[in-house]
């Protein structure tokens, strides 16, 4: 039972254009969402996060949007660069009054390829 789903295994984008990566979740108790980026042979690295009290968070070229009613979040990368080519994972957690111990539930990942 996949509580966090990334339904697009891959995405191909031209350099300079927008990349939009999508993520859906089913657990209405999730209240914190994160995106991680992973290069081959490396561990994932934290990219950007958003709390459920917000609907948008921006950090440079990266913006995450959260639609709680649709249980959907997306990561926008503008403009896309070849160095952005990587696997992107969305993750979610329920803070649960401090007893969640920081556990994250991850999606399957989306491979982003940005062509020069």
């Amino acid at each position: 039972d996949q509580q966090v789903k990334q339904n697009s295994p891959s995405l191909s984008v031209q350099e300079g254009r927008i990349s939009i990566l999508n993520c859906d979740y089913t657990n209405s108790m999730f209240d914190y969402f994160l995106w991680y980026k992973k290069y081959p042979a490396e561990g994932p690295t934290f990219l950007i996060s958003i709390s459920s009290i917000k609907d948008k968070n921006e950090d440079g070229r990266f913006t995450v949007f959260l639609n709680k009613s649709a249980k959907h979040l997306s990561l926008h990368i503008v403009p896309s660069q070849p160095g952005d080519s990587a696997v992107y994972f969305c993750a979610a957690s329920s803070y649960a009054g401090g007893t969640s111990y920081g556990k994250l539930t991850f999606g399957q990942g989306t491979i982003l390829t940005v062509h020069p």
């Binding site: 042979a41 490396e42 934290f46 401090g98 111990y101 994250l104």
Partner: protein, 114 residues
């Protein structure tokens, strides 16, 4: 660097043998986690620790055990390795249970069970 190292980086082992993977951190973070990454599944939590000697199971804990006898080390043991445990294993740390910090991941251990 990030202050988290995993060893070994690669290992090939035979079915039925015990295997221990090590995660070592120099950040003095309280929380440590073991995840496995498999195609089509993303990263799935195996076990986690919220302090020395305090550990609990994640969603895919069957066949795995962990130990944390000191803050800096979190060991993952496959008691009797099976081919279904062929995977890439990642350790992660975070200073506290909230998420302003995200996780810091190690570089991973690629384990092949033949």
């Amino acid at each position: 660097d990030a202050g988290i190292t995993q060893s070994p980086r690669h290992k090939v082992t035979e079915t039925g043998t015990p295997v221990t993977l090590r995660c070592h951190q120099t950040e003095n973070h309280r929380y440590m986690y073991w995840y496995r990454q498999d195609p089509g599944h993303g990263l799935r939590l195996i076990h986690y620790s919220y302090g020395v000697k305090d550990t609990d199971k994640g969603e895919v804990s069957d066949g795995y055990s962990v130990s944390r006898s000191k803050t800096e080390d979190f060991l993952l043991t496959l008691e009797s390795a099976t081919s279904s445990q062929t995977s890439v294993y990642f350790c992660a740390i975070t200073p506290r249970g909230g998420f302003n910090y995200g996780y810091t991941f190690g570089s991973g251990t690629r384990l092949t069970v033949v």
